[in-house]
C-alpha cells in the first residue's frame, strides 16, 4: 500500500501547498508525481474569455430549424454579451449522445449538477475563484450591504422569452414570499439577523440589499446554497429557491394571476391534489419538459421514467471562443440502474461515456484493469474536505448523562481520536489514496489552519489516549479490558451511528471500534437506514454520527458538518443548532465557552471582508481541531465522486476536476464544452 501511495506521490502535493487564495492552482501545478501516475492530473478545464466573438454558429439540427423558420437565428437567441468559454484543448464539433447512469427519481442531483451553468455566479476550474455565470458581473458595495448583479442583455429562457430582472422580482415577490410555496424565509437572504431585500434597478440590474454588512453574499451566490444554487437544483424536488424563476411561464399556475378557484380547478383536472402540488411539478425541470430553463440541456423525458433524457437548449447563453453556441453534445441519456453494482459493472463494460457519480473507489483495481476493453480513461479527482469519514460528536447528548458529560469533555474526544489507526483505515477503505488526519480542510484551501492542524490530536497514540482517559477517572476496567462507567460500574459504551451511503460507513465504524479496544473503549456500531439515522440525530439521542464532512472546506457556506448551526441536522445537538439559527430566541445555549466562541466567530464572518474572513475561519478551525468537536479520519480522496471514467471518444475532458460541494461536480468542468471526437 505504501508503494501505491508513493506512486501517487501525495506528499508532493502537501509540500507544495500553502494556505492562500491562489494556492490551489499553484499547488497542483507542482504535482509532477501525481501527473506521472496518469491518474491524478492537474486541475484544468474550460476557462472564461473576455473577448466576444463577432460571428456565431450553431448545431446542424438547429441551423435546419432556423432555415425552416421554426427558430430565430443564433445571434438573436444568445445574449449580446454571451458567456465565452475557451474549451480545454480544442474547439469541438457538434453531435453525439452522452450515455450515463442514474439510480432513480431521487438521483436528481445527477442531472442538476450537469446544468450548473444556470447559476448566477460560479467558480473557476480550481474552485477557488468566483467567476460570472448567468449574471455578467457583480459588485459588492464598500460597506458590504449591497450586492448588485448585472444580467446579460438579450438573454433568453429555453422557450425564447426574455430573461430579465422581472424574473428575479417574480421569484422574490410571488414565490419566495408566498407562505404556501416557501413556508419559511431562508438564512441566505438575511444578514445580522435581519432579512434583506431584492430590488430591481432596471431590466438587467438586480440588487440585494441588507441592513448589516454581508461581504459573504457573492460567495453565497456562487456556492451551492439555497440562494445561489441555480434553477435546476433549487427549484426541483419541492424546493422554490434560487433567486430567479421563469415568470412568464409560471404565472399561469399561481392564484395571484387568476384566482385560487381557477388554479385549483386546473390542478385537479391535471390530476394534482392542489395547486401547490401542481406548481411544484410544473417548476421542476426534472419532471416538466415544458419548463423554460437556462442550462445547456433541457429534459425531454422526465426523471421518473426509465430513461431520463435531455437535449440541447437552443437558447443556451454560452459560446466557445470561435462563436459556436454550446453545448457540443446533442443529448444526454441517463439509464436507470437498479443498483450501484450494476452502475459499476456497466461502466467497466464501457456502456457510459462519462461517469463519476456512483463509482466505487474500492473497485479501482478492476476499473483500471478494464480500461482498454471498456475504452475509457480513469481520472482520480481529490476532494478538499478534511475527512470522508468523520465522527460527528453529539455535543448535547442528554439521554445518558454520564455519556453526555464525557462527550462534552475535550480530553475524552481527543482520546477517542488518538485511538484511531487512520493508516489502516486508509489502506483498507481508500486503497491508500486518502490522506489521514483531522477534520480540517486541505492545506490548499484558503481557510486551512495549516498543516500542523491536520495532525493535531489526530495521530495514533494509544499511550497518550489511555493517559487522558485515566485522567478522566475512567480507570476501572472489566475482565475484557473495557473501561467502566463511573456511576453504575457497567461497561462504558459509545455508540457509533452509521449509515451505508456514499461509503460503507458501518464498516468503517466497525474498524474504529476495533481500534478503540486498545484504549478500553467499547464502540457499539449502530447501523441504520439513512432516513432513520437522520431522524435519530434530530431527537439528539445519538452519541456519535458517522458521515463525511464534505462542504466544510468552505466553512461559512456549509458549516452543517462542522458545528451545530443547521436546524435540519441534529448531529451536533439540535437544541444548540436552534439556539444558533434563531439568534438565541429558541433552543439551548451551549455551555462550552469554546463552542460558544467559535459559533460567535462563525456568525461574525458575514460582516468581514475576504481576507479577514479567511483568517477568522483558520482561527475557528484551530479551535475546532484542538477541541475535536468532530473527529476526522481519512479524507482528500477520490472516494466521493472522484473516480471518473471518461470514454476515449470524448475530448476536452479535464485531467483533474474540482470535486466539492461548491464546484457542483462535474459542473465546474463545464460538460457543455466536452465533445465526441468520433
Amino acid at each position: 500500500m505504501t508503494s501505491r501511495r508513493r506512486f501517487l506521490g501525495y506528499g508532493a502535493f502537501m509540500a507544495a501547498a500553502t494556505p492562500s487564495a491562489e494556492a490551489l492552482a499553484q499547488a497542483v501545478s507542482g504535482t509532477s508525481q501525481f501527473a506521472a501516475s496518469g491518474l491524478v492530473g492537474t486541475l484544468n478545464g474550460a476557462v472564461q474569455s473576455a473577448a466576444i466573438p463577432t460571428k456565431f454558429a450553431e448545431a446542424p439540427q438547429l441551423a435546419e430549424l432556423v432555415k425552416a423558420g421554426k427558430l430565430p437565428p443564433v445571434d438573436q437567441r444568445i445574449p449580446s454579451e454571451p458567456l465565452v468559454l475557451k474549451p480545454l484543448d480544442e474547439i469541438g464539433k457538434y453531435g453525439g449522445t452522452w450515455r450515463r447512469a442514474f439510480i432513480g427519481p431521487s438521483d436528481g442531483e445527477n442531472g442538476n449538477r450537469i446544468m450548473a451553468t444556470d447559476k448566477l455566479l460560479f467558480w473557476d476550474v480550481t474552485g477557488s475563484k468566483i467567476v460570472p455565470g448567468v449574471a455578467r458581473a457583480w459588485d459588492l458595495s464598500k460597506d458590504g450591504k449591497t450586492t448588485t448583479l448585472t444580467l446579460r442583455k438579450g438573454m433568453k429562457w429555453g422557450d425564447g422569452s426574455p430573461f430579465t430582472a422581472d424574473d428575479f422580482i417574480f421569484w422574490y415577490e410571488d414565490l419566495y414570499q408566498n407562505k404556501d410555496i416557501v413556508p419559511a424565509p431562508i438564512p441566505d437572504m438575511s444578514a445580522g439577523g435581519k432579512p434583506g431585500r431584492m430590488v430591481k434597478i432596471d431590466d438587467v440590474t438586480v440588487q440585494f440589499q441588507f441592513d448589516s454588512p454581508n461581504y459573504l453574499f457573492p460567495s453565497l451566490l456562487a456556492g451551492d446554497t439555497l440562494i445561489g444554487g441555480g434553477q435546476a437544483v433549487r427549484q426541483s424536488t419541492g424546493n422554490t429557491y434560487a433567486a430567479y424563476a421563469p415568470a412568464k411561464y409560471l404565472k399561469q399556475f399561481l392564484p395571484k394571476y387568476s384566482s385560487e378557484a381557477e388554479v385549483t380547478r386546473r390542478a385537479k383536472e391535471a390530476g394534482f391534489e392542489s395547486w401547490v402540488r401542481a406548481l411544484h411539478v410544473k417548476k421542476d425541470w426534472q419532471l416538466n419538459p415544458e419548463l423554460p430553463t437556462l442550462g445547456p440541456w433541457r429534459t425531454v423525458r422526465p426523471i421518473n421514467t426509465p430513461t431520463w433524457t435531455m437535449e440541447r437548449n437552443p437558447y443556451f447563453y454560452v459560446v466557445d471562443t470561435s462563436g459556436n453556441q454550446l453545448p457540443y453534445i446533442d443529448s444526454i441519456v441517463m439509464t436507470l440502474a437498479e443498483d450501484i453494482e450494476v452502475v459499476n459493472l456497466r461502466a467497466m463494460a464501457g456502456e457510459y461515456d462519462l461517469q463519476e457519480r456512483h463509482i466505487d473507489l474500492q473497485k479501482l483495481p478492476v476499473i483500471l484493469e478494464n480500461r482498454d476493453r471498456g475504452k475509457y480513461d480513469v481520472h482520480l479527482d481529490l476532494a478538499y474536505n478534511g475527512a470522508d469519514t468523520t465522527l460527528h460528536v453529539n455535543l448535547d447528548h442528554r439521554a445518558d448523562p454520564v455519556v453526555g458529560k464525557l462527550l462534552k469533555t475535550a480530553d475524552f474526544r481527543r482520546a477517542l481520536s488518538m485511538g484511531i489507526d487512520r493508516d489502516q483505515m486508509n489502506d483498507t477503505f481508500w486503497l491508500g489514496l486518502g490522506t489521514p488526519g483531522s477534520s480540517a480542510p486541505a492545506e490548499a484551501m484558503p481557510e486551512s489552519p495549516g498543516p500542523e492542524w491536520r495532525d493535531k490530536w489526530s495521530k495514533l497514540d494509544i499511550a497518550q489516549a489511555n493517559k487522558l482517559l485515566d485522567g478522566l477517572g475512567l480507570t476501572k476496567k472489566d475482565s475484557q479490558g473495557f473501561r467502566l462507567r463511573p456511576d453504575n460500574g457497567q461497561r462504558l459504551i459509545i455508540q457509533l451511528l452509521a449509515v451505508k451511503s456514499f461509503m460503507d460507513w458501518p464498516k468503517h465504524a466497525e474498524m474504529i471500534s476495533q481500534h478503540w479496544r486498545k484504549i478500553g473503549i467499547y464502540g457499539d456500531v449502530k447501523e441504520a437506514e439513512r432516513g432513520l439515522a437522520f431522524q435519530r440525530a434530530m431527537t439528539g439521542d445519538h452519541h456519535v454520527f458517522v458521515w463525511t464532512n464534505g462542504g466544510t472546506e468552505l466553512l461559512y457556506l456549509y458549516p452543517t458538518w462542522a458545528l451545530p448551526t443547521d436546524v435540519t441536522s441534529g448531529v451536533y445537538g439540535i437544541e444548540y443548532a436552534r439556539w444558533y439559527a434563531s439568534n438565541g430566541a429558541q433552543g439551548t445555549k451551549p455551555e462550552d465557552p469554546l463552542l460558544l466562541k467559535v459559533l460567535e466567530m462563525l456568525k461574525s464572518g458575514n460582516g468581514m471582508e475576504q481576507e479577514a474572513r479567511d483568517k477568522n475561519a483558520q482561527e475557528i478551525w484551530k479551535i475546532m481541531v484542538d477541541q475535536q468537536f468532530s473527529i476526522g479520519t481519512v479524507g482528500q480522496s477520490p472516494a466521493l465522486m472522484g473516480v471518473r471514467l471518461a470514454s476515449r471518444r470524448l475530448a476536452n475532458i479535464p485531467s483533474r476536476a474540482c470535486i466539492a460541494q461548491h464546484c457542483r461536480t462535474p459542473g465546474t468542468s463545464h460538460p457543455e464544452t466536452w465533445f465526441f471526437k468520433t
Partner: protein
C-alpha cells in the same frame, strides 16, 4: 359445488380487505414517514429542508393524520380506481407500476414456461428411469440448482459474460434501443436480452419442480392400478401419462396460488442483481423511501394476486382431481 365456489369467492373478498388493512398498517410500521426519508436524502445531497417546509409537505400528503383517516382516504381512492400519487416518483402509482408490469409479466412468464417445460419431462424421465445414469445426472444438476441461490448464479453468469464477452448483462434492452419506439427492432432487441435472465430465474424453480415431480410420480408408479394397467397391455407411454402423471400433477395445481404474485413482482433479488426493470426492485425502493402509496399498491396487488391464484388453483384442482369434486357433491 356452485355454493362452494361462491363461498370461496366471498371469503376471497374478505381476505383482500384484510390484506389491504394489513398492508397499509405494515407500511406505517417503521418509524418516520416519507418526509423524514426525504429530508435525510436531501441532507445527504447537501440541501437542507426547513422544519416549516417539512410540515408543509406532511400536510400536503396528509401524513400527520391518524392511521384510520389515512387508511380510509386511501381505500376510498382505490375503490374509485385511483391508487394515489407516488411520492418518490411524483407520478400516479398506476403509471409507475404500469411502466414495468408488462415487462415483469413477460419475464416471469418466460421463466415459467422454461421451468415447466424443463421440469415436467425431466421429472417424469427421472422417475420412470429411476437410478439410471440420466437420473443421477439430473439429480446432481437438480441438487446444485436447489443449493445455489439464484442471485449467486446471476452473479456468476454476469461475471462470465463480462469476462468472456466484455458485455454487461442486465437490463432488458441495449442502450441504443432503450429510447426507440416499439417496433420490430426493439422487440428483437428484447428477445435477445430476455433468455438469459429468464433462464436464471427459471433454474432454481426447475430443480425444485424436478424433485417434486420425480417423488410424486415414484409414489404413483408403485400403485396397484399401474400394475393393472400394464397387465391389461396398455402401451408404456399411455400407462404413465394417462394416470400416474396426472395424479402427480396435483402439487403443480396447488402451486398456482404462489405463481400469481410471482408473475407480477418477478424475483426481487435477481431483478436487483441483474438490473431488470421489474416491479420487484420498485417495491424495495418504495419501502426504503417509505413511499407508502406506491408500496401499499404493490403489496395490495401481490395480496390480491395470491387470493386470485388460490381461487384459481382450487378450481384447477377440482378439475384435475375427480376425488375432490366427489367429496363436494
Amino acid at each position: 359445488m356452485i355454493a362452494f365456489v361462491i363461498r370461496r369467492l366471498l371469503l376471497g373478498l374478505v381476505t383482500v380487505w384484510l390484506i389491504s388493512v394489513l398492508s397499509f398498517a405494515i407500511i406505517q410500521l417503521p418509524p418516520g414517514d416519507f418526509v423524514s426519508a426525504y429530508i435525510a436524502q436531501q441532507a445527504a445531497s447537501g440541501s437542507p429542508v426547513s422544519a416549516e417546509a417539512a410540515d408543509a409537505m406532511r400536510q400536503e400528503y396528509g401524513l400527520g393524520r391518524p392511521f384510520y383517516v389515512q387508511y380510509g382516504k386511501w381505500l376510498g381512492r382505490i375503490l374509485h380506481g385511483n391508487l394515489g400519487e407516488s411520492m418518490e416518483w411524483r407520478r400516479p402509482v398506476s403509471e409507475v407500476i404500469g411502466d414495468r408490469i408488462w415487462l415483469t409479466l413477460l419475464l416471469s412468464f418466460a421463466a415459467l414456461v422454461i421451468t415447466w417445460g424443463l421440469a415436467l419431462p425431466i421429472g417424469i424421465y427421472s422417475a420412470v428411469r429411476q437410478y439410471s445414469w440420466g437420473d443421477y445426472l439430473f439429480t446432481l444438476v437438480g441438487f446444485i440448482g436447489i443449493a445455489v441461490p439464484n442471485f449467486l448464479l446471476a452473479l456468476i453468469v454476469m461475471y462470465f459474460a463480462f469476462r468472456l464477452f466484455g458485455a454487461s448483462v442486465g437490463g432488458l434492452f441495449s442502450s441504443e434501443m432503450m429510447l426507440a419506439p416499439w417496433g420490430w427492432p426493439k422487440f428483437w432487441d428484447l428477445m435477445k436480452h430476455l433468455p438469459l435472465p429468464a433462464i436464471i430465474l427459471a433454474l432454481g424453480g426447475t430443480a425444485q419442480l424436478i424433485r417434486i415431480m420425480r417423488a410424486n410420480l415414484l409414489d404413483e408408479l408403485r400403485r396397484p392400478y399401474v400394475v393393472t394397467a400394464r397387465a391389461k397391455g396398455l402401451s408404456e407411454t399411455k400407462v404413465i401419462l394417462k394416470y400416474p402423471v396426472r395424479a402427480a400433477l396435483n402439487p403443480f395445481a396447488s402451486n398456482i396460488a404462489y405463481l400469481f404474485p410471482y408473475l407480477v413482482s418477478g424475483s426481487i433479488i435477481i431483478s436487483i442483481v441483474l438490473g431488470l426493470p421489474t416491479v420487484g426492485p420498485l417495491l424495495v425502493k418504495a419501502l426504503v423511501a417509505q413511499d407508502m402509496f406506491l408500496a401499499g399498491a404493490i403489496v395490495l396487488l401481490l395480496g390480491v394476486m395470491t387470493v386470485i391464484g388460490t381461487f384459481i388453483s382450487d378450481l384447477v384442482l377440482m378439475w384435475v382431481e375427480p376425488r375432490l369434486r366427489h367429496q363436494m357433491d
